[in-house]
Symmetry: C2
C-alpha cells in the first residue's frame, strides 16, 4: 500500500512549484509511459502500475510498484486514471544553437493543450528546438505532457527566460499574423524561425519587430482566427512541402 505521504508527494507534482523543487513530473497512461520506457528510460524515477499494465510490460529494468485501481486514482492527475503513472525526472533542456534548420518560437502560449500540441507538431515536422517566451505554459504541466504524446523525448523545449533569444539570431523570423502575406506565396524553406503568438493577443510588439516577414493563412469562411496550434501545423506543412 502507498503511504499517505507518498500519495501526497506524487499528487503535489500537479503544481509547478513542487515540480521545480523536486525536479520531477508525472506522465500517465500506457501509450505515453511505454514510449518513455523505450526512448528515455533513464528519466523514469518510478512507475506505479496496475496488474493489467504489468502483464503487458515486463523486464524494463525500471523500478515499478504494483497498485490497485483505487490507489492509482489517488496519485493520478486525470479524471479517470489509466493503468499507469510514471514519476519522471525533468529532461535536460539546452539553449538551442541553431544551424540550417526550422525552429518554433512561441510567444505566451498559455493553454496547456495548445502548448503540448505544438510540441507534438514540432516533432512531426522533425523540428529539434522549440523556444518558449516568458508567460508560456509549463512543459511539465500534466496537461501539456498528455498533449505532447511523448514528443518531449525528441524535441528540445527551451524557455527564453528574459525574452532575449531572438535578439541574438541572424536567421529569418517569420511571424504568423492575421495580416501577413498569404501562405500561398511562400515556398519551401529549410531554415528559419516560425513565431507563433498568444491565443488571444497575438505576438507582442517586441517580438513582432524582430520578424523579417509575416505570413497569414488565407481565410475562406467566417471564423475570426484559427487555434494557434492548428495555424502552426498548416504553416509548417506549407513551408516544408
Amino acid at each position: 500500500m502507498l503511504s499517505k505521504k507518498l500519495i501526497k508527494d506524487i499528487q503535489s507534482l500537479g503544481l509547478k512549484k513542487h515540480r521545480e523543487e523536486s525536479g520531477l513530473f508525472v506522465a500517465e497512461g500506457p501509450k505515453i509511459v511505454s514510449e518513455f520506457l523505450h526512448l528515455i528510460p533513464a528519466q523514469i524515477e518510478h512507475i506505479y502500475a496496475t496488474s493489467d499494465w504489468l502483464r503487458k510490460n515486463t523486464g524494463s529494468g525500471v523500478a515499478v510498484t504494483l497498485v490497485d485501481e483505487d490507489e492509482l486514482q489517488r496519485i493520478s492527475q486525470l479524471k479517470t486514471a489509466n493503468e499507469v503513472v510514471a514519476v519522471m525526472k525533468k529532461l535536460p533542456q539546452q539553449k538551442p544553437v541553431l544551424k540550417d534548420e526550422i525552429c518554433l518560437y512561441l510567444d505566451t502560449i498559455k493553454d496547456p493543450g495548445n502548448f503540448g500540441t505544438l510540441v507534438r507538431i514540432a516533432d512531426w515536422y522533425g523540428i529539434r528546438h522549440l523556444i518558449a517566451s516568458t508567460g508560456s505554459a509549463d512543459l511539465y504541466n500534466p496537461k501539456v505532457i498528455q498533449a505532447t504524446m511523448s514528443s518531449i523525448a525528441r524535441v528540445n523545449v527551451w524557455y527564453d527566460t528574459d525574452d532575449s533569444f531572438l535578439q541574438h539570431q541572424h536567421m529569418h523570423v517569420l511571424a504568423a499574423t492575421l495580416n501577413g502575406r498569404s501562405l500561398h506565396q511562400f515556398q519551401k524553406i529549410t531554415s528559419g524561425i516560425l513565431l507563433i503568438g498568444n491565443e488571444s493577443h497575438g505576438i507582442r510588439p517586441q517580438f513582432l519587430e524582430k520578424a523579417t516577414d509575416q505570413v497569414m493563412i488565407p481565410r475562406i469562411g467566417g471564423a475570426e482566427s484559427l487555434n494557434a496550434a492548428v495555424a502552426a501545423g498548416i504553416i509548417l506543412y506549407k513551408l516544408t512541402s
Copy 2:
C-alpha cells in the same frame, strides 16, 4: 441576488442530461457572448453579467441580470469566470443536403477541445455542414462551446444518430489515415466529404469502407501522429488551395 434554485439550474447545464431536458446551454466570456449577441440574438435566453461587461454592452434588447463577481463564479463552468454568462437556446440543427461543397464528417471525436476546434476550422474554410457520428462529443458541452469561438453560429453541426449518413451520399469521401496517399498529390477540390477519425482509434471500418480515397500528411520527424484537429486543418488547407 440570484436564487439558489436559479444558480443550481444554470450550473446543471454543465451536464448533457440537463441540456437535453431544457434545450438550453451556456456560453461564457465577453468575446463569444458579444459575437452571439451580434449573430444570433434570438437564441439568447438570458445574460448574467457584471457591471464591467454592462458598461461595454448596452441596448442589446436581450434580458440581462446584473451579478457580482461571486455570483458569476457560482453560475460559471470556468475555473475563473469572465464577466458574462449567457444561457442560450440550442440551435436548430438540420440534416445536411449537400450540394457542390466540402463538408466534414467526424467519427467519434470525443475530446471536447478537439471537437470545438474542428467546428472552428470548418468555419474558417467556409464549410457549412459538419456531421458527427455516434459517440462524438456533445456540441453544447461548455468546453466545446469555448473552443468553437462562436463558429456554431455559422456551421450547421448535425449528429448522425444511426451512423447511416455516408451510406446515402454519392460524393467523394476522403478519409484521413496514416497510410493513405500523400497529401502532396492532391489538388484543389470544390466538393467532397473529409472523414476524420477518433484521436486514438482512427476511423471505424464501417466508415473507412465508404471512403473513395485516403489521404496521409507526410511525416518528417518522429511523432506517431498529429492531433485530429491539426490534421484536419492541414488537409483542408491543401484541398482548398
